[in-house]
Symmetry: D3
Subunit: 190 residues, 6 copies
């Protein structure tokens, strides 16, 4: 079996109770344990902070739909050549958007994806945060406001792009392997 990480992967039985519980809950819901949970588990305090942060950004209410948040993840992870995040979040995006084509489109070149002008503006900004955040300027905020985004929405876009800047780097360094299950998820009609 191919390794899922360049770093040690603990066994479930050796994990702290809360970490194990979180993993079992995901397994219950998804039918398998996404490898990111296993690859990060050997550092319990980091694991806890990572998923607390993730959930605070991806599960909260707000002006962005859950599918739109996944678009941000997929577009910026594509720009960072992150295999784990493109494949795993591509699956989630297909499911949340109920669209079997959207993830590949956004990952390869979001400029040609079947998205709305508002989503295009959102991804233009997310990519700037991912690739040249030092140059973000008032004009970028104005462009988002023109598409109806509230300032809190802008924070969401930026924070998601920033969080996955971290996440992509962790996955790239550890050579985290996407579970085979992700590749096909959301591609077939229910």
């Amino acid at each position: 079996m191919t390794a899922i990480s360049r770093f040690p992967v603990p066994e479930l039985k050796d994990l702290p109770e809360d970490v194990r519980a979180r993993i079992l809950a995901v397994q219950e819901k998804s039918g398998f344990v996404p490898n990111v949970f296993l690859a990060l588990a050997h550092r319990a305090p980091e694991f806890r902070a990572f998923f607390a942060y993730h959930d605070a950004l991806m599960e909260k209410e707000g002006g962005l739909t859950k599918a739109e948040r996944e678009m941000i993840v997929v577009a910026t992870s594509g720009a960072n050549d992150c295999q784990y995040c493109v494949v795993a979040h591509g699956a989630i995006l297909r499911i949340r958007a109920k669209n079997p084509l959207i993830a590949d489109q956004v990952a390869i070149n979001y400029r040609k994806a079947d998205i709305t002008p508002r989503q295009r503006a959102m991804l233009d900004f997310a990519m700037k945060v991912a690739l040249e955040s030092h140059a973000v300027a008032e004009a970028d905020f104005a462009a988002l406001a023109a598409e109806g985004f509230l300032r809190e929405d802008v924070w969401d876009i930026a924070a998601i792009a920033a969080f996955f800047a971290m996440s992509n780097r962790l996955a790239n360094v550890s050579s985290m392997r996407p579970n085979d299950e992700f590749y096909l998820m959301g591609r077939l009609p229910k």
Copy 2:
């Protein structure tokens, strides 16, 4: 007074108890509240996750000294043109390394800083994680092993570089302003 963020900055009295307590503790210790605490406070769940993650990486025991961890922060934040992180963590680096010159050297061009070959290898790797993590390869791990780094140390280097990839982007987008106090900290003999 110049704004410390493009986003809302709450008043201390309006914050959840644990967030306020954390901020007051920092103020007690440092004599002022670093702006990152105020700028992130309007999103309490993200604030909690951010600092839990930060502490898990920067305060833990391990093969890297605290000064070395700050070197990673300063070098990669310099590469990302992040004013807040270079200035604030530059101050911390000067203090932890007891060296008034090291932070400017590392921020501008770590290749010419007064560091050991081991630290040079550490920063070469951290910069690769920051700037082209998709290309990290076994040869990079071998170079670190040759300098005596354990695999857990490598995780630390990578995770710190990754965490500040996020942090730099948050600070750049919010135009987070470093406190004036940081600029002089650690520059004068005690």
Copy 3:
């Protein structure tokens, strides 16, 4: 219906006999007409030269398997953010390699794909041809020879990468849309 090109798309009945015959043959074999045939058809002489060149490179005998040639297409098209070529040739790669995961892996980051060291060397070279051909040097030829590639194989790798440098640009400029059928091809067990 979404446009398949920014340029005029002729109707089959208006095409020269040989162009129409080629298109009908593809339709017969694949069950649909890949949009590249329609998008290039409004310039019959270019259409003929394009597919003659394509077939000379992709259908010939030689030291590279057909799956390997498609790997070159998918990896370099990913680097050029070409939606049409990644999606369409990704499908062909999955089929030729009889591997439902390989195309996404190669498109996102071939360094982490489930490929042999020989294929890794092949893709390293193809990417150099795609991205910085001016710097190709004798050392690159030596690296390929060390993996057992003959000089004629090297030509094949280079010529395929070069041909799709052209093809990616044509698809990007025309905003050529991949057929929906490609996305799922080769992902399900037969």
Copy 4:
């Protein structure tokens, strides 16, 4: 004598009749055989497709003058550091434009060449196709329309830039040597 290619160069007598005829015709017209004909000849099917494509783009009627088409070749080949194409097509450009200075100007920095605003717009677009085709957008088409280019002209510009994206890569990888004759052609008054 310096090699004209890293790959085998066949002798004329060993070539298929049509390939040899094409080469002899060029020799008749130019007084020498440009090395690209010899360097590509060892693969007859690719040779045929390459020159059929070349002629379809460079010899056809249309909204671009022949000199303008050569400008596209020289500018984009300069950007790709392609010695063969800059030298050989620089010669052709000088002749077609009846201007001994224009080729060097366009190759080094077309922004400062003695060209019309319409030609400047044409080269701006050609360079975008050469260097970042994934970002070509409707605004680029509008800029060309504003200078009077028809949609078919835009295809011509894009297709020429794309064809030489391929051609530059073939010449760079094979280290194709420009014939000495090209350097002086078109520089002296007739």
Copy 5:
């Protein structure tokens, strides 16, 4: 003691009279000899031309204040990762601007520095000269004119950025070490 250059550093007594006089004058004024004077001294003709050029640009009258000229030096030297120039001219900038924060701000990310819109336009242009001078265009001149810069001021900005493009490269190649004194200069209230 750490070397101040990779190249030979002559002793004062071995220098031509005018070179030694210049160095002693600086020492008299500053209290120490900035290392650039020693590092360049082993080539007296180049030393003379370098400082004649420097003084012609930095000491002359004109539309830019001396602090503004130093801003150009610090911003462009930051972009070139030049340790000597950022540290030494950062000190001079702090003193000339009577602002202990400005040098670090400008070096790390001038877009977020406490400067006027006019100074922002000046630095935008200086950075373009430093990083992509081939693309400087009439629109850049118009943007400067809109902020009230005269054409002679524009020359000053460009010439300072160009001179330090040279200076940064000399310092980087020679690994010129900034004097320890510079780090603290201008940071404390008088």
Copy 6:
């Protein structure tokens, strides 16, 4: 007549005596006044320093031949897209090397020029100084030493590349026009 600079060009009669004398001497020798002399003349102190520096580097004795120094100019000016310097110094290079092909070869892609391995190492280093001087390291010095370059020769290479980093920027910003005479110089057998 096309302007030779975006900035004022003084008349000879209005220039200081030494500046005029220098210009007349060049005219005497070359048969025409290279535009760089006129374009820089409106700032006499900078003119004097510029040419004093130029002569100190280009006319001195040393381990590099005059032709080799011009190779450095042409290669780095090509990398900076500097029309004036490539055309004017290309002419000088052809004359000094007595080789009508060398300048175009070096300007477009020095890796494929007809030069010695020693000259190749020299240009590799010059290009690193021009394009990423912050990364120059001991290994670069070792590579030059291996080709027989003395440390003083290395200074010459670096200083010439650095001086033309300045010169290219001045020419690019001022849109300095190369004299028509340069284009043909050194291309015909004497």
